[in-house]
Symmetry: C4
Subunit: 217 residues, 4 copies
């Protein structure tokens, strides 16, 4: 693949997908591991450490939601890159935008962990957090739509059905996160539980587990 590094025109050569995958996986795994730094140690709580640890439930909740979200992004990203054989300049930049949003997630995570349970700012923190989740889902959607439109990037053997499954799940996540933000603005605590439900739904394959249980009986 000669001298393709600076060519950004899609369809003529393009980059092999390997290094983009490696760099993206690096950012995902670092962002997911940095989340723990947002959980602040309860200081000066010698007398009731258990109580102090339990009082930090918003931190753990935020940790789990963000971990599931990045975990889902990683799985979905793997699904997208497993469908394509090469990337062009625009795909690389769209991907960079996605990475920027994912790498930013620890900040709203900390924000939500800090302000959950405090009447007025709670609403703002939950909304800001939701917007970042929504932007991540939006960029994932954009990345996927760009990939299937530029047929040069896709593997030949893909059927319409294969593409439809991915499109459906990506679009669904967009609607679910969007709805959760609306709920979160009016009922912050319910909104956060919605985020938890959506990210759990995205990352845990309930239907498959159900099928596996049935089959093994």
């Amino acid at each position: 693949m000669k001298g393709s590094g600076w060519r950004e025109t899609p369809g003529e050569g393009g980059h092999p997908v390997g290094r983009l995958e490696a760099f993206s996986d690096g950012v995902f795994s670092i962002a997911i591991t940095l989340l723990v730094l947002e959980i602040v140690l309860p200081l000066h709580s010698e007398r009731d450490l258990i109580g102090a640890l339990l009082a930090q439930w918003p931190s753990y909740l935020a940790y789990v939601v963000s971990f599931f979200t990045i975990g889902w992004v990683w799985i979905a990203h793997g699904a997208i890159t497993s469908h394509i054989v090469r990337v062009d300049g625009i795909f690389m930049r769209l991907n960079l935008m996605l990475l920027m949003a994912v790498a930013f997630l620890p900040f709203p995570t900390r924000l939500m962990a800090d302000y959950l349970g405090q009447a007025s700012p709670e609403r703002v923190a939950v909304a800001v957090y939701g917007v970042v989740l929504f932007v991540i889902a939006l960029l994932m959607d954009g990345l996927w739509r760009y990939a299937i439109r530029s047929s040069e990037l896709l593997k030949d053997e893909l059927t319409e059905d294969d593409l439809a499954i991915v499109t459906k799940k990506v679009t669904l996540s967009l609607g679910l996160f969007g709805g959760s933000i609306l709920i979160g603005v009016f009922l912050p605590t319910v909104g956060v539980l919605c985020y938890l439900a959506v990210s759990t739904f995205l990352v845990v394959p309930f239907r498959t587990i159900w099928h596996a249980i049935i089959r093994r009986r």
Copy 2:
């Protein structure tokens, strides 16, 4: 491997194990390297820096135990993935749970480093830390048991003996960590030394070193 990204049914295709290994190794190597951030610098101890550094022994102890535990998880994870040829959706999610527990470890590490040596909260910190170690061993056990049950994931040439060795060591770690927590609740300092002993036992191959010494004489 066409369009397998979103299929979660085991046995029909599945993902190659490579990207899961890379992502897991990323999380392990970051979590293990972040541990050092939990060691707080002794401030305002110009007069007796050596004393201040030595007084921080719980930090170093917690660092070594956590480092050995993650190191062992990395080695054991490599043992598991070296036995399998492909992963399915459930394996990927179980693996994600394991990563979530490992990535969480820096928090209880900091907790234990802070509260060790303080009568009452010490007990809580040591127990919390132990529970996280136990959950990690439990998830490793679950990951392994799932892998050997779904024969589609395993390499063909494996013998019963090969599987038995791994099963034995994973189960053993579960019992040892469980026992250490019980001890830690009653005798916190002894419990921590048990964690150190278990993680050292898991990571250092005494028998092999002994054999190697004998053979070279």
Copy 3:
């Protein structure tokens, strides 16, 4: 490739480019993900969290500029390594210098985020930040020039045109960052906007996007 680890003479063997790419990608992805830690949480702003979040615009601006710059370094680095087949000792050390400058970027980023908007120190912070950006571009330029001079490292099939495109873009970035620093010393806020413009220009392929839009009509 026998025993080449310590040989540093170019042209006789040299290292394969793989491990250098992996290590560099690691540093780039970590540095780009650590940037978010520089964004400080607005504390004690329960009454007006939206206002407090908006008042932190220099942090977000610095985040975006640094993210784009490291993203560009990653793309450009990939362009360089895709042109070469092996690296020698000098290339490895030049690369290490580049990594040192990139890994240092979070510090001036924090500096700029903290002092932007404060009359006198703003000037210093913007200049220091610009100098680090300039040094990064300078080391990238050096790395590239070294690569094309030592013909043993380059792939055979490269034409003069391929080399000229890379050389032009690397040199251009040098001039643009240099000019922005000069502006930043006199008009700090304008200087930062120039950094934003340059990094956006480097990372976003406007011409390609334009062509793609036209073609799809």
Copy 4:
């Protein structure tokens, strides 16, 4: 390579070197990138930011020495792994010890950055830092000596000369770091400059650069 994950006996199978390299590179690249977090932002220095930044010279010095040291460890580690074809259990654990020492380096780096320039504690900080550097060099030496003793791990085509070059450089680094600590205990500032000189000497191939300059005339 069937079921080799838990076998720790050298010479019968062993692991391929790939995943060990990837994990080690991960730890090296994270540790090297975390160093920047040790540089504290000068706070409340609106009046004289340049002065405050310059007063932080120990931080920059510690950053450069630690960066060069880890950079050298990375290059030397690559030299070692390029000589071997497989790793056994003992090699893996020795390697884990080396990683533990390298991952610990940010702590003494911060310590030295904080206490350099303060009469009495300076001596302690410089000595502690030197001991960690020495331990790193010692573990590298051990890793190398173990690799060349177990002939099963080495590549076949290696000559005695190839091995001698690596042995010489690793041993030399041990003596140089050891000597620097002795100097550092009596003359802390001189000791730090020795660390800088040793790490620069290890990472920069002066002889090669000199030869390259002569050859190109």
